[in-house]
């Protein structure tokens, strides 16, 4: 009788642990579906004729990355509290998809990416804006998303990514120059995180304004 009681207790304890993981998996399943649907929709809208898959992984790190090994885009669970709307998640996915397009260029390009990672990060940020536009998302969401979870280092020497303030500035400049309608009629202007970006980017934005980048007579922009 004693043995049976101990055995049942053992089963109870271990079962409860296992059960708690099942709950986590259910939640992750929903995120997996969301990430996957959004990712494939971006690929199709942009007519990207290369295979990319999307995975959601249960890690507490606030990050997403592109794997060159199996051309997958991996979103980590820790990122999700920083995501407030679909467009922000789309921004992250578009950035990683842009990296995948460079991975597809072959091992030589991958080596170049490791030597000049900052250049390719900038390229991926800008391509992400283009991908977002073509899949119907507001590109300003990329600014709000990055402003929330990318910290500010003292410099970017030896770093894989440019300083976040630089990244936000060139993304803003790219939207300003190429898709000004999204800033002229900005859906994020009252967003808390966008407001903070405006507060912290005044000097950068003044420089952008003085560059006179807008060419209204450009027939391609009118279209």
């Amino acid at each position: 009788m004693k043995k049976i009681t101990v055995f049942l207790l053992f089963l109870f304890v271990f079962n409860s642990v296992a059960w708690s993981y099942e709950i986590d998996l259910t939640k992750d399943g929903q995120y997996q579906k969301k990430v996957m649907e959004m990712g494939f929709s971006i690929l199709n809208s942009n007519r990207i004729d290369k295979r990319v898959v999307f995975r959601f992984e249960s890690s507490k790190q606030a990050n997403a990355y592109a794997s060159s090994y199996d051309k997958s885009v991996i979103v980590l669970r820790g990122l999700m509290p920083y995501i407030d709307d679909d467009a922000e998640l789309a921004g992250i996915l578009c950035h990683e998809i842009a990296h995948q397009m460079d991975f597809y260029e072959g091992p030589w390009r991958r080596m170049a990416m490791s030597f000049n990672s900052k250049k390719y990060e900038e390229k991926a940020d800008k391509k992400a804006v283009d991908y977002m536009i073509k899949s119907g998302y507001d590109p300003v969401a990329l600014i709000t998303a990055l402003n929330k979870f990318c910290g500010q280092t003292d410099g970017d020497f030896g770093m894989s990514h440019p300083m976040t303030s630089k990244r936000l500035a060139y993304i803003y400049e790219y939207i300003y120059q190429k898709y000004p309608a999204y800033l002229a009629d900005n859906s994020y202007k009252n967003n808390l995180y966008y407001q903070n970006f405006l507060l912290t980017s005044r000097k950068d934005r003044e420089k952008i304004k003085n560059k006179n980048l807008i060419n209204v007579s450009n027939k391609h922009q009118k279209d």
Binding site: L9, R47, K119, S135, H220
Partner: protein, 233 residues
Amino acid sequence: MNLKIIACFFLIGVVFLGYKCVYAEVIEDDIAISSFQGKNFQKPLLPMVYIEDDTAESLQGKTFKKTVYKHELLADTIPDEYLNGRVLSKQKPVCKMIDENAEIIKVSIHPVKAITTKEGLKITDTVYFAVSKDVYNKDELFIKKDSPVSGFIELISPAERFGEPDEIELSRFLTADTKGNKIVLVGNVRKQGADRGLWVRPLYNTGYGMPFALVKGGRAKIKTTDEFELYYE
């Protein structure tokens, strides 16, 4: 013996359970509770700070359009003979139409004059091409040879250290057919400069080639003899 093993597992189980309990515990701010209990504090009512985007203000009064992309059905191109009378459910509309049955007309273009990133080109600039040969649609002349084509600079990725070259990408090509109708050509033109990384990176990796790290790659150049294939659908 068996009982000892079971007891051991039981202990492990209890430790796991304990870990879970600690993990799930809500930590109260007992210092704040004990210090401020019974005291009446009021949160200050501050006006909401609103920061104007004075850079974007310069865009006011100008007319821009947000690009609207149609959400359409992906065409299912399975030929009828493979269906054998089976009813296939329709795909959920997800994105733009990619109709593989649509006739694609290839259009070859070349630049009117050499395009190089050396000349201070910037994104959104328009550059000019010409149609390389007559284009026919069902035996009828559709676009004449030498018809002007305008292209839009989508992205310039600048040259970098370690021999990394400039990269230029163009798309949104526009031309006109023989009747003067505006024709949108689909496709991209991408070109990069000389990739000096081929010799710079191996030299750098030897350990003696540190100065070579500063060598930048070449400028991207599209020559008038370069031909690119776009299509109309």
